[in-house]
Symmetry: C2
Subunit: 150 residues, 2 copies
């Protein structure tokens, strides 16, 4: 890797960070069009709640709407411990997302969700081709651990 590559990689990292913050802002605003603009048409997405996978942007958009029904705006959706690795046309990021109803009175209702986001550069634009949200479960009880603190 020469210095041009390093500069490029740093620039791509910054682009991915900006995209993720813009996307998180759109999620907090529950602005579906702004959220969905980040995804490739054939995105394969896994959410913390079932089913196993959503295939394609339309199926995933419906699921985002379902989620907004479960957690009305304004909601907390903050990325913590964000790590990004970006190459020339492949990138990924992972973070813990503090997610739930917003406001200090709801702090015990929020919890950390693990997030991995995978990008490809398609037609000159970084688009999410795979996304994976989850919470772990307790192996003794089988219950999802939805209120863990990061």
């Amino acid at each position: 890797m020469d210095m041009t590559d390093v500069a490029y990689s740093t620039r791509a990292d910054a682009q991915i960070r900006d995209l993720l913050q813009e996307w998180a802002k759109a999620v907090r605003a529950q602005d579906l069009d702004r959220i969905m603009a980040h995804y490739a048409p054939d995105v394969v997405a896994c959410d913390a709640i079932g089913p196993l996978q959503f295939k394609g942007r339309d199926a995933y958009a419906k699921h985002w709407q379902t989620c907004f029904g479960l957690c009305p705006a304004p909601m907390a959706f903050d990325l913590r411990d964000l790590t990004v690795a970006a190459g020339d046309d492949v990138a990924f990021a992972h973070a813990l997302v503090t997610c739930g109803p917003s406001g200090p009175e709801n702090e015990d209702k929020t919890g950390a969700v693990r997030l991995t986001v995978c990008y490809r550069k398609i037609g000159g634009r970084w688009l999410v081709v795979h996304e994976h949200f989850s919470v772990p479960f307790d192996v003794e009880t089988g219950q999802a651990l939805c209120h863990l603190k990061p």
Copy 2:
């Protein structure tokens, strides 16, 4: 992207697929050293069972041992719907893993686990820097859905 890049990308994709199949074989054999050889020292890993994250190869190795205690060998660990994207030094893959005790008599005890694996090329070798296993949960009951079929 010129034809050299395409050829390179195809070769990197094939390398990642080979590494994943070798890793899955090591998991089925519960060979901890062969499994752990795939990870970077500072890997950040999320498993389907708690806690939220494992930071570093040593912490994650201990967790693999705990898991082998929960599901003695021989075990099923088969990658399905594997999708790979590999650039020059950043790559990711996602799949559904059929996981659980092996053998046709145990089919109702296996289930699909969502898997995302993220690589960086470090010192000329592809190493896993982030891994994310999970199952979704039922939003009504809060129970993890461990026996979904892919």
